[in-house]
């Protein structure tokens, strides 16, 4: 088979996002004999990012450089992507289920009149079919889905499908394609940074999440310290957001973000069903709560009944010591 698999890469602050490497690996998994073609849009030199995509498994990369592609807009990027798709005629299109992916992929699918399977957490090849697994009902159930007609198009959830090992001996062609980008109906006037400090919540390997038990915005500070030590991000329950201890952008749950980090530490979170829906598929869950009857202990791998204001400072010290002994 000489299938063409197009992976739409995504950069953030000039660097490729991890999920783009995971998307390359997903494409490889779907067809190891196929040609994996990366697509990068932007303004300025994209050579370094294109090389990274190749080091992580892409066979070649097409770049579209245009001043109207400096920042992501759905219209600009969809015009660029559609031109490349028209040229390449891919059998498969894969991208990350990120803010950009969620915005762009349905628009492309609609233009192409194809199906689209969003938010995929696993891919299997069964006979000649590609079967996608995705969570439904906020992870309370899962479905397996196939595309029955046309291009196979999917977005993958960050942090679920492993990327390949980086191999900087890999070589692939990098070509740039000129695309006319027409007038954009939607213009970005300004971006106000609120959440981008540190690690992105949806891609974090470690999440320290606080609930009402944290009691104040001040109470969240040690959680940030612990998150930073572990290279992770801070999240929150709806209760903590409603109480204005932190911004809604940190909310994890049925409304809010759904996350699957390697380690989730729930601090002072009771574990309402809506919160569990956002985090119960995390690989290892630690619960720290003073109420032994808390629902959160039902999903925890490790539980500590105790006062978080005693436990968290000690945990920070213990982790510091561990990191020192590991020479970090």
């Amino acid at each position: 088979m000489s299938d063409k698999l197009l992976v739409i890469g995504e950069t953030k602050d000039g660097e490729l996002r991890n999920v783009s490497f995971e998307a390359v690996a997903a494409a490889k998994k779907m067809n190891s004999d196929g040609e994996v073609i990366g697509l990068l849009c932007g303004h300025g030199n994209l050579e370094a990012q294109a090389k990274e995509m190749i080091y992580y498994g892409a066979d070649r990369v097409i770049t579209v450089v245009h001043e109207k592609l400096e920042a992501y807009t759905s219209e600009g990027y969809s015009q660029a992507a559609l031109a490349v798709i028209d040229d390449v005629s891919p059998d498969v299109i894969i991208m990350g289920h990120t803010s950009v992916g969620k915005d762009l992929s349905p628009k492309l699918a609609s233009r192409l009149q194809t199906g689209l399977i969003s938010d995929v957490t696993d891919i299997e090849i069964v006979g000649d079919q590609t079967v996608f697994t995705r969570p439904i009902y906020s992870g309370k159930a899962f479905e397996k889905k196939v595309i029955t007609d046309g291009i196979i198009f999917a977005t993958i959830r960050p942090n679920n499908l492993p990327a390949l090992e980086r191999d900087d001996a890999r070589y692939g062609e990098i070509t740039s394609q000129a695309v006319d980008i027409g007038d954009l109906r939607t213009v970005i006037k300004d971006v106000i940074r609120k959440a981008s400090e540190g690690v992105d919540l949806s891609e974090a390997n470690v999440i320290i999440a606080g609930g009402r038990g944290v009691k104040s915005a001040e109470g969240f500070k040690p959680l940030y310290e612990l998150a930073e030590l572990l290279g992770g991000a801070v999240g929150a329950s709806r209760g903590a957001c409603d109480a204005e201890y932190c911004d809604y952008s940190l909310q994890i749950g049925q409304t809010g973000k759904v996350v699957t980090p390697d380690l989730y530490i729930a601090v002072g979170i009771s574990g309402a069903i809506q919160h569990l829906a956002g985090m119960s598929n995390s690989k290892v869950i630690v619960a720290i709560n003073k109420d032994p009857e808390s629902n959160i202990f039902n999903v925890a791998d490790y539980g500590i009944v105790g006062d978080l204001f005693d436990i968290i400072p000690m945990l920070i010290e213990e982790v510091k010591q561990l990191k020192q002994s590991q020479g970090v």
Binding site: P106, V284, Y302
Partner: protein
């Protein structure tokens, strides 16, 4: 201003999910307006109150979907449309839903269409942006603020926690994110009035669609529940001991540190 809201009924967020005969068991479940669609209904009402016009809520569903439409009417929407596909459609996906809505909007005049950014059941988040493309109108997803001034629309768009200040124009489709507003509860007079507000029921045949037009492009082949989690381990002792043991377990047993 002609304002439309795309609305879907979903399981109540409290509901536990069970599967029987390979599908999600719906008997006995409580249904609500998808929480993100509630933001859309609220925003539609606010914009109408400020700029005039009327708000029509549209859903694709079955007979029981009338309940959620009446709730939206009780909140303050003016008209409702139920596209009842119960007898005509065995299977559908986001492509199908978009095709039906495209046909519905073909003879409508619309300035603003609002939808939730995602439904909490199937969570594809596709229908809003797909429809905007079919109608060839501007589209902004995950909005947290909107001000309309003539044809110019100023929007705050949530991008993974950052806020993009976006400017666009009508006609426009937006999908609503948490933080946009606080949806009102229907008042008692609102509920009484809602009973008399117009609710139109349509079927696929009324929309000039062939079977081929609504043929889905994807198929669900299996639905399953996540494996039950084994009971976790409670760490006993004094706080200092608990913390030491936890870090040891995370490092050596779980291997995540």
């Amino acid at each position: 201003m002609n304002i439309y809201v795309l609305l879907k009924k979903t399981f109540d967020t409290e509901e536990k999910i069970t599967i029987s005969n390979g599908i999600i068991e719906e008997d006995g479940a409580e249904f609500i307006i998808n929480p993100y669609d509630e933001y859309a209904v609220e925003e539609a009402i606010k914009q109408r109150d400020e700029h005039g016009g009327d708000v029509t809520v549209v859903t694709i569903g079955d007979e029981d979907s009338e309940k959620q439409l009446r709730t939206a009417l009780a909140m303050g929407a003016d008209k409702a449309v139920l596209i009842n596909t119960e007898d005509d459609l065995e299977e559908g996906d986001q492509y199908t839903t978009t095709a039906i809505l495209e046909a519905f909007f073909a003879d409508k005049a619309y300035d603003l269409i609002l939808a939730g950014n995602v439904a909490i059941d199937e969570a594809s988040g596709q229908v809003g942006p797909r429809l905007a493309e079919r109608l060839d109108i501007a589209c902004v997803t995950t909005i947290t603020n909107m001000e309309i001034d003539g044809d110019i629309v100023k929007i705050d768009k949530d991008v993974e926690g950052d806020v993009e200040k976006v400017e666009t124009s009508l006609p426009l489709l937006v999908t609503c994110q948490q933080g946009l507003n606080d949806p009102r509860y229907p008042s008692l007079p609102g509920i009484m009035k809602a009973k008399k507000k117009p609710l139109e029921e349509l079927e696929i045949d009324d929309l000039d669609l062939d079977e081929d037009d609504v043929e889905p492009k994807t198929k669900t082949i299996e639905i399953f529940l996540p494996p039950e989690k084994e009971a976790g381990r409670m760490i006993e002792g004094e706080p200092a001991e608990q913390v030491k043991e936890l870090v040891g377990l995370l490092k050596n047993e779980a291997k995540v540190l």
